[in-house]
Symmetry: C2
Subunit: 245 residues, 2 copies
C-alpha cells in the first residue's frame, strides 16, 4: 500500500538470478515498503551485471550494496563493474577474506537496507573468509528466515557447513552461491537429513570427498586475483599481485 | 503444526527446478498441511525425472499429478517416465492440445491437491492447446497468486500473452516454462510494463518478431511426437505417428 513509511514496516522484494556458465546464483533483495526502495545484490557476476542493473532500474530500486559471500574461484565478481556503473554503491566482503571492499564485515554485524537487515555469520571452510548472510530475526523481517550461504553450503552438496547454519530454525530457506543440478533452494531441516556432509559420519564423508576427483576450477587463475580486489583491477589498471593479502 | 487437518487449512510447499540443456523450469507444488502431502509437477523433463522423484521422496510428498502446460517442442516431457515409476500418478494436459493423458482439462477446470488448487486458463498462441495453471483465489490459497505460464509468457519475452494472464492481480508471480537469461520469476505488473509484446504497439512488435531469426528448435523433431503421447511412446513401443491429432 501507499502508507508504508512507518519505521517498523518493511516488505521484501526478492529475486534469484542465474548465471549459466558458472552455475552461479545472484540474489537481489530490496525493502520495497521503504520510500527509497533500497536494494542489495549478493554475489553478482561480471557477465550478468547488465541484466541485474536493468532489472533493478525497471523495478525502481536504489542499489546501495554489492556484496560477496567469499572470494570466488569460479567466476569474476560483478562488484567492481557495478561500482563503476552506479555511483554510491558500496561493496561489502568479510574482513577475514583479506580482500578489498568499501565495507569489511565481521561475524555478528548487521547490514541494513531500509527496515530489513542481513546478519553476518562466519562460516569458514571453503575459504577462510566465507560468510553466510542471514535475514534478520524479528516480526518485520521475512518469515521463514533466508540464508545466503555462498559456498559454505551447497544443496545436497559438500560445503563445510558448521553450526552457524545448522542452528538456524529448520524452516530457514538456504540459498547457495551455486547449484549444478537445477535446485534453487533448500531448507535447514532438509539439509540436516540429506546433505552427505551432515548425514554421514566423518570417516564416510572423508572417503567421499577424497574420491570426488574434482576438476581444477575452470576460472580459478583468473577469478581469485580479480576477486581479491572485488573485480576492480581491470578497471583501475592496478594488478591484483600488488595487493597484500 | 500437527493440528492442520481441518478441511480449510493448507500450506504450500513450492520448488522451482531447472533443466540446463533446454533451459526448462519444472515446478513442484504440494499441500504439506494435508496429512497425505499431495503433490504435483508442472512440466517435468525426462532427463531430470530421477532428481525430481528423489526430492519428492525426501520431502515425504505423495505425487498425484504430472502436468504439462502444452506439447513442448524443445524437450521430452517426463510424464511418461514418471507414470511408469510411480504407480497411481495421473498425467494432465489440455483437451485442446489433442494429446493423450489421463485427465484432459479445459479452461475453468480446477485441479485440487489437498486443499490447494490450480485453475486452468486457456492461453493459446504458442500452441493451440497452451494453458496456464494459476493458483486459486481464496483465503487459504497462496498470496500473491502464482501463474505457471508455460510458453504463453516468457519473462521480458515474446509469448503471445492474452488477457487471461494480464487480468490477474498485478502482484501475481509469473513462472514460465523456460528462461534463457537466468530470470526465475516475474510479476504481471512488471511484464505489463517491460514485456516487449505488451509494452509495444502491434506494428513494432510484428517487426521485432519478424527480425528475430529464431533458430529451428533443437529438439522439435524428437520432442513434439513424443510429447503428443506424453512421453509414453518410448515405453510402450507405440509410434507417435499413429496418434490422431
Ligand atoms: Fe563459488
Ligand atoms: Fe517449451
Amino acid at each position: 500500500g501507499s502508507y508504508t513509511t512507518s519505521s517498523e514496516s518493511s516488505k521484501l522484494l526478492f529475486r534469484q538470478l542465474f548465471e549459466k556458465e558458472s552455475s552461479t546464483y545472484t540474489y537481489l533483495l530490496a525493502d520495497v515498503a521503504h520510500p527509497e526502495k533500497p536494494a542489495l545484490l549478493v554475489d553478482p557476476v561480471d557477465k550478468t551485471v547488465e541484466r541485474d542493473l536493468s532489472l533493478i532500474k525497471e523495478l525502481g530500486l536504489k542499489l546501495i550494496y554489492a556484496m560477496n559471500t567469499h572470494v570466488h574461484a569460479d567466476h569474476v565478481t560483478g562488484t567492481g563493474l557495478i561500482k563503476s556503473r552506479v555511483p554510491g554503491v558500496k561493496s561489502i566482503i568479510s574482513k577475514s577474506s583479506n580482500s578489498k571492499a568499501d565495507l569489511l564485515v565481521e561475524h555478528g554485524d548487521k547490514i541494513y537496507f531500509g527496515n530489513l537487515f542481513l546478519e553476518v555469520r562466519a562460516t569458514p571452510g571453503h575459504t577462510l573468509g566465507c560468510v553466510t548472510y542471514v535475514t534478520g530475526d524479528g516480526s518485520n523481517q521475512p518469515q521463514p528466515r533466508m540464508a545466503f550461504t555462498g559456498d559454505a553450503l551447497l544443496i545436497r552438496g559438500c560445503g563445510r557447513t558448521d553450526f552457524q547454519i545448522l542452528s538456524l530454525p529448520k524452516d530457514t530457506f538456504l540459498y547457495p552461491a551455486h547449484d549444478y543440478k537445477g535446485f534453487t533452494v533448500s531448507t535447514v531441516g532438509e539439509e540436516m537429513l540429506y546433505n552427505p556432509r551432515l548425514s554421514k559420519d566423518e570417516e564416510t564423508f572423508k572417503h567421499i570427498m577424497e574420491n570426488l576427483n574434482l576438476p581444477y576450477p575452470k576460472m580459478i587463475d583468473v577469478a581469485v586475483p580479480a576477486n581479491m580486489v572485488c573485480g576492480l583491477q581491470d578497471l583501475t589498471g592496478k594488478s591484483a599481485e600488488t595487493m597484500s593479502s
